[in-house]
Symmetry: C2
Subunit: 141 residues, 2 copies
């Protein structure tokens, strides 16, 4: 199981943004340069972040993005959800009443994967953008 770069980039970009948006909006170009992420790719990501009300955009010269909420109100869950980075441990259809793998019942490890999903998601629900900012104040990058 691996984290996709879309999810990673989204978090990296938002941490970067959060550190600089106190006064002025931050342009994707700046984030792109500082974080080494392709500008075109960032635009895709921010389009989703905007749709999910995590950031607001300001167009025109001196434009850019700002956070829609306070850093402590933005959890990793929200970010990942916005960019479709979801935790999936089972292939089974949720809608059908049927079990996994075409069987009539749930597969013998179904509960295990549910536990795992909860375990991972609880991590994402606890961590906010503010937490990440704090743990970054010590070392400069």
């Amino acid at each position: 199981m691996k984290l996709t770069s879309k999810g990673r980039y989204a978090v990296m970009a938002l941490v970067d943004l959060a550190r600089f948006d106190n006064i002025n909006p931050v342009s994707l170009r700046d984030i792109s340069l500082r974080q080494g992420i392709s500008l075109d790719y960032l635009e895709q990501i921010f389009s989703k972040l905007k749709k999910n009300q995590i950031v607001k955009s300001i167009r025109g010269t001196q434009g850019g993005y700002i956070l829609s909420k306070k850093p402590n109100e933005i959890k990793l869950t929200n970010i990942f959800h916005a960019v479709d980075e979801k935790v999936k441990t089972v292939q089974c259809k949720k809608d059908s009443k049927k079990g996994c793998n075409g069987k009539a019942t749930k597969c013998i490890t179904h509960n295990l994967w549910d536990e795992l999903e909860n375990h991972i998601n609880s991590f994402f629900e606890k961590k906010s953008l503010e937490d990440l900012l704090k743990s970054n104040k010590e070392h400069r990058y």
Copy 2:
């Protein structure tokens, strides 16, 4: 982030195996039928499990596989490691002294992903095959 079916199948198959290997070896054909997993695919998986000393094979008629160790000595970590289901949250090369994304330093979220990896791995290190057997004794599948 999602679990691959190779990892899921490995665990499903081993739980199935553990429930039936008290007296005789269990054939992949039986596991295939009970769990609805392709026989050819199971063979690939068990080849890896064998290389990692998680199961032993017995050839010929009435042959099959048996566990190499007691169920409480086989952790999910061991199983996942055997079938190359690894938890990867960063793309960065571990060998180089360089940072992530071509930068000179670690990316600003590097510590976060390390934390996440540890969080997930600790789940896998706690769970043994025996735990899964127990939680399955209640309901029959």
